[in-house]
């Protein structure tokens, strides 16, 4: 804190010589004059003190009989005095501060996170219709209103968080990824109808823990795809034991099933591989707002060429983005070659594709615990067959009233 004061009020590095330097320092301290970074050398002391205090030490210097000399002056008052004739510098500094302030009151970057089915361009064009774009005034953006408008405009979004940080607007969304809901876009069930859980594949129930609803299966049951596991329709019986009413809830349970399946993958050993023969043509560009200043123009030499653009938006601090983007455009010529996979390469490719299948299923909650892999490499094709057994915890939700309809149809 003392150093910050020293900068704004100015400080002096002084050299103190004489017989009673310690007495001088003690006198100053008793008169509330502080020192920093006191160093002792052969002849005397070197110390830093505040510029304002230097004017008060004349009497103390005389009393202690020391000699004091200013070695260096630093701080804002001395800087301003040194540059007092440089008025343009001051004007430039003021203009820079004003310009930064102008930039800080606008939004220059909008990020959309968490979207899966709704594309970023869809969301940005919706925001554009509501006059929210890079360059909009920050104070005119109401985060709560935007969140509510997005939820109303996109029924598939279950959760929205809008955060404004400096010149950066971040919109986090969470979409409803339930497959039953997404398949039947025109039909959706409200909380009053409830929902039931059905199996997504054939298998055997290993474990079931029901939190809401009525369990229709138990451990050890063999089930088929589409069978109802937990029903959301809870019958309410009267004193006579007759069903007086049906209460609908959203069924919720942890279900672990064992299932088996076969994975088959076939791909040709021959194919086309695209390569870039050279580094490509690189052009740098600077984009300020909508104006683009480029070092040159990309000349496409052939029909088959790839164009890659890498762009970075400049920022002063985290959250303080500027309307300036620096980017480069790389144009690669593409050469296609015919390739023929060797046995090892084909086997490696088949294993990689199988691993990818296992990883994708693991993300969905399907854990393969046993597999029998057979890779056949023919003259022109490679075939991979994998019989697996897996644990699956995924279920599908359907409206609870649909369960009743199905039961009535079955009974009739």
């Amino acid at each position: 804190m003392l150093h910050h004061n020293f900068f704004w009020t100015g400080c002096l590095r002084v050299r103190i010589t004489g017989d009673s330097c310690e007495r001088f320092l003690n006198l100053c301290v008793n008169h509330e004059i502080s020192f920093c970074r006191i160093c002792r050398d052969q002849d005397g002391y070197t110390a830093i003190m505040m510029a304002g205090d230097f004017l008060k030490i004349k009497r103390l210097v005389k009393k202690s009989g020391v000699h004091i000399r200013i070695v260096q002056k630093s701080g804002m008052p001395f800087f301003l005095k040194q540059h007092r004739k440089r008025k343009l510098l001051l004007l430039g500094w003021i203009w820079c501060c004003f310009f930064l302030y102008l930039l800080s009151i606008h939004i220059w970057r909008i990020d959309i996170c968490g979207n899966q089915e709704i594309t970023t361009m869809q969301m940005l064009s919706y925001l554009e219709q509501n006059e929210i774009r890079p360059g909009s005034l920050s104070r005119k953006i109401d985060c709560k209103k935007i969140a509510a408008d997005i939820r109303n405009a996109f029924p598939g979004i279950t959760w929205v968080a809008v955060k404004k940080q400096g010149t950066f607007l971040e919109i986090n969304i969470k979409e409803n990824t339930d497959s039953a809901y997404t398949m039947d876009q025109g039909v959706w069930f409200s909380d009053s109808e409830g929902s039931s859980l059905v199996a997504v594949c054939d298998g055997k129930i290993l474990d079931i823990v029901t939190r809401e609803g009525v369990s229709c299966v138990q451990e050890g049951d063999q089930i088929r795809k589409g069978d109802i596991l937990v029903s959301g329709a809870i019958p309410v019986t009267n004193d006579d034991g007759e069903i007086a009413n049906i209460r609908y809830v959203n069924a919720d349970a942890d279900i672990l099933m064992e299932t088996s399946g076969t994975y088959t993958d076939t791909f040709p050993r021959s194919g086309q591989q695209d390569t870039y023969p050279d580094q490509g043509q690189v052009n740098w560009y600077l984009k300020i707002g909508n104006q683009v200043f480029s070092t040159g123009k990309i000349q496409e030499t052939s029909e088959s060429s790839d164009l890659m653009v890498e762009e970075t938006q400049l920022s002063l601090f985290p959250g303080f983005y500027l309307p300036v983007c620096l980017g480069k455009v790389i144009c690669h010529e593409v050469e296609s070659h015919s390739i023929f996979l060797s046995e090892e390469a084909a086997k490696d490719k088949a294993e990689r594709r199988l691993e990818k299948f296992i990883t994708e299923n693991a993300e969905k909650g399907v854990q393969i615990f046993k597999k029998n892999v057979k890779i056949e490499i023919g003259m022109t094709i490679c075939k991979c067959v994998c019989n697996y057994q897996a644990y699956i915890s995924e279920t599908r939700s359907i409206p609870a009233t649909q369960v009743e309809d199905n039961e009535e149809r079955t009974n009739s």
């Binding site: 003392l2 310690e22 301290v29 008793n30 509330e32 020192f35 920093c36 970074r37 006191i38 002792r40």
Partner: protein
């Protein structure tokens, strides 16, 4: 003195506040903070001698530099080798 000490214990008053004892805070072997001292007697790059109310404190070491010297506290930095109460 005993009465003062008893009163300090009864009211749980810190000794550096009531009896003006020196307060020394050592951070590793490279920094010392001192409060409640009277004056500095001698200072060099190897030795610092301070007068306190009831004793003298001598700090020996190498490359000693006083970071801050004010009426409230003294901060000493360097390689501290010895702290003695004389």
């Amino acid at each position: 003195m005993d009465l003062l000490k008893s009163a300090m214990d009864a009211f749980q008053i810190p000794q550096d506040t009531a009896a003006r004892y020196s307060y020394l805070q050592i951070c590793g072997n490279h920094q010392v903070k001192l409060e409640n001292y009277t004056r500095m007697i001698d200072y060099s790059s190897n030795r610092l001698l301070l007068q306190c109310k009831t004793c003298q404190i001598e700090i020996c070491g190498k490359g000693l530099q006083i970071l801050r010297y004010s009426s409230q506290e003294l901060v000493l930095e360097g390689v501290i080798q010895k702290v003695m109460f004389l």
